[in-house]
Amino acid sequence: MNIIKVKTRRFGEIEVAKDKIINVKGGILGFPDATEFTFIEKDRKDPFKWFQSIQFNDLAFILLDPFFFFPDYKVDIPDDVAEDLQLETIEQVIALVIVVVPKNLLDITANLLAPVLLNPYKKLARQVILMNSQYSTKHYIVPRDEDNKQTSKGK
């Protein structure tokens, strides 16, 4: 069995099968050395998943399936990303977005401008900055009264 033990600050020691390790090309922006991650999920149906670094026990992100709350979200996959992720067809790609969860849950935001694109078959991922996009790094998941319109315009 190819299982490694990984110490994590949030989840204690976890066991990760080697074929569940995702290689993030170039790392997550700001963390260039964090290139290996694994998903931690309790329930597969949850739109949120933890993305735990294998190399840095303190480093983990909460990723969200963007279509769960932003059904009109659109991502253009640049050619070099398709190549990097060894995509055979565009349908293979899974887009996930990084969320910020503040103390007040009403203020939870998703970064639609820089999704993490994943090829689950090859276990390859990359954080991509969408070019010429109207999305921002902070989209409220729970719409706010004042910028309700703005959020829907951003799609």
Binding site: R10, L29, K42, F69, V99, L105, V142
Partner: protein, 87 residues
């Protein structure tokens, strides 16, 4: 920092395969053309920094139970919807 003077339509080469050319100059802006291999991402610095900073903030998230989190958020969204209908 290396500083070079270039005129309109002139360019510089970085390494062997990155070319940055001056496409247009106005009194307040310079238009750059960049030829680089697809593996070299090119971004406006302020966007790069924005995402860099957002990732740092995101890495500090502490909530562990994500099933509970999505439940809470769906509830909050429902509540908002009901309020809108009532209004």
């Amino acid at each position: 920092m290396l500083v070079l003077t270039r005129k309109n339509n002139e360019s510089i080469i970085i390494g062997e395969n990155i070319e940055v050319s001056i496409v247009d100059i106005t009194p307040t802006t310079v238009k750059l053309g960049i030829n680089a291999p697809p593996s070299i991402p090119v971004h406006r610095k302020e966007i790069f920094e924005l995402i860099h900073d957002e990732n740092i903030i995101a890495s500090k998230s502490e909530i562990v139970d994500l099933t509970k989190l999505s439940g809470e958020i769906i509830k909050l969204k429902e509540k908002k919807k009901i309020l809108e209908i009532v209004e």
